[in-house]
Symmetry: C2
Subunit: 380 residues, 2 copies
């Protein structure tokens, strides 16, 4: 068969291995201590989750165990041990912190951290295949190295493993956590379906774009931010409040990601200039600009309608000036400012949601806030 997945590279809406550089007013108040604190928080998540994650992956029948190990960056394409970039590990850090938010030990969140990481990586394997993305975390994607069948299979297997590591706890809390994770996974899949269908649509509204990003990025961050608390026996109100934090954090992250997709510095992001414009992505700045009306929005709409008739390869090789002109119109029509404001609004909403967590131990809220800054405030 000749499977025709859509062609798209570099599109990475929900994972980023790039270094993060705090840069906006909020973190200008940050200190070296804050940075060390974040690094320790991420390191704790990574370290505590690693043994269960590795033993879960080791359960897979060959060659899926090897393919998964490659995906996670533990080995290279030739099977040699590697110390690959497995991503920032924000989700495990959030999962452990959420256990502490419910008064439990961070270790209580470990199966949740691992389950969320497994679902996250299941979605990466399948999305890279569907999107035709050839690179992930600066390495060839699984379907490029091991073929599309392995990308499908190993993705499926990681998804199944996620349920397994939670349900083998054999507690009512684990069942609740699995139910929430399953619902989040369905939203993740809905988001990918919407993302694909929007590519073929002429018009996408701001509300539709936000819904898609909420599904694709927000839902699983929401689950990561609450799963430890659920495993620690938190009530639904606490779990919902933590989910709300994670959901809005995801939307804030995504808004920043969409800004960087157009105006990010290639030296920092590792992407080409105007990356999202080259892919004709209907990201937030674009849809917000078009929704704003006015002469700039009108001119932008005409340009994009003409662009839509072009062949992708031809389009990607437009001159810098042509992309710059589109970016300028987006900015002139207010799309850049609206998206920046949206990132700030979502960031604030995320922090406000933490008020819904009653009896959170001292210091935990500050760590949630620090992680929120870390995720949202970055240049790449």
């Amino acid at each position: 068969m000749t499977a025709s997945f859509r062609r798209r590279r570099e599109h990475d809406t929900h994972d980023r291995g790039d270094p993060v550089t705090p840069a906006t007013p909020r973190t200008q108040t940050g200190t070296a201590d804050d940075t060390a604190g974040i690094a320790a928080l991420l390191e704790r998540g990574r370290t505590l989750a690693a043994p269960l994650l590795r033993s879960a992956v080791a359960r897979l029948a060959p060659p899926m165990d090897t393919v998964a190990a490659y995906h996670f960056g533990w080995i290279d394409a030739q099977g040699r041990p590697a110390d690959g970039d497995g991503g920032k590990a924000v989700r495990p850090a959030l999962a452990l912190l959420s256990a502490e938010a419910a008064g439990a030990a961070p270790e209580t969140g470990v199966p949740g951290a691992v389950a969320v990481e497994l679902v996250h990586n299941f979605s990466l394997l399948h999305d890279d295949l569907m999107d035709g993305d050839e690179q992930r975390r600066h390495r060839d994607t699984v379907w490029k190295v091991h073929g599309p069948a392995q990308a499908v299979l190993v993705g499926d297997a990681l998804f199944a493993l996620a349920g397994e590591v939670l349900l083998e706890l054999d507690t009512a809390e684990a069942a609740r956590a699995t139910r929430r994770l399953t619902l989040a996974t369905r939203r993740l899949i809905d988001g990918q379906a919407q993302d694909i269908s929007y590519e073929h649509r002429e018009k996408v509204t701001v509300a539709e774009c936000l819904e898609m990003e909420g599904n694709k990025t927000g839902a699983l961050l929401a689950c990561a931010s609450s799963v430890g608390a659920v495993l620690g026996g938190a009530d639904d109100a606490t779990a919902d409040a933590l989910e709300s934090y994670g959901y809005h954090l995801g939307l804030a992250f995504q808004a920043v990601d969409d800004l960087l997709g157009i105006w990010g510095d290639p030296a920092v992001t590792g992407k080409r200039t105007w990356s999202d414009l080259r892919q004709r992505k209907k990201s937030l700045p674009v849809v917000a600009a078009l929704a704003g009306g006015g002469p700039a929005a009108g001119r932008l709409g005409e340009l994009l309608a003409a662009d839509a008739t072009k062949d992708q390869a031809e389009f990607e090789d437009f001159s810098e000036a042509e992309f710059a002109a589109r970016a300028e119109l987006i900015e002139e029509a207010g799309g850049r400012e609206w998206t920046s404001e949206e990132a700030r609004r979502q960031h604030a909403t995320a922090l406000a949601a933490l008020d819904g967590v009653t009896g959170m131990p001292d210091g935990i809220r500050d760590q949630f806030a620090a992680l929120a800054d870390f995720v949202v405030v970055r240049e790449g």
Copy 2:
């Protein structure tokens, strides 16, 4: 991208829409009443499961709901209502019967029946894509009609829905059932991985073939045969005994399927003559023949080794006489007889496993036995 899934058609190891014609000694003792009883049992499963199955699928975001409805045969490729062949619905029938085996009402098994059907269809969507199969239940497969991305996505969504319909029961029994289903799903995935890897291997042992078939076909039938009992509060011993029934039933089914894949009557199976031989499938009769040793096995081994060097298209178009010669060597080397015996052994083991179910209400065992005959004894 150009995804290169392996090319293979008609390979359908774990689903068959064909009519089933009881034909061996065992069902020659069957009566018109038996046949009516089976039909009623299957119809009950289909009818009781339908509302929850349809409402679960309706939760999917467009266009996944439509793609899934096409896959289940509820609509045609143009979206018009259809009364398609959704398969024999043996799994739902088993799930409801297993609830009764535990003394519960058949309705207790409905969420289990639906969850198992969802997992089964998730695997069909992904396997058809990986295998390059273009037809399923006499219709074009989803990836042919809606593209490979939808096959991946909708498969993922059905898998997630399976957990959802069980866990929303919010009971300890549902959590146990979900855990068992998750383990069965991983075995299903292991089986598909083994099936793919065996295609590229020169030698596959009988034990490996049985393990693959047990994973790919046995594990989910085992779950179908026990899930209703688990939801009905059965203890682990009862659930395990019912699982054992379903597992061995799956192996018996598969042995018969492998026989039909070589010697089945095209008029009944709807497949070409020597179907599995055309695909160079290392099915049970083949591996058993090779394992038997002797001159026929030796000649068969030489032929198959030479075949392995040929191009697939060229190979498929061998003359009837060339395939007939291979089939004859398989039979001469004892592969056909061994596989027939194996089907009988597995069928008997399945029925014997029912002895492990203590306190099974009157009449339920007979219905399990009748379903076993129905699944195993067939010509297509």
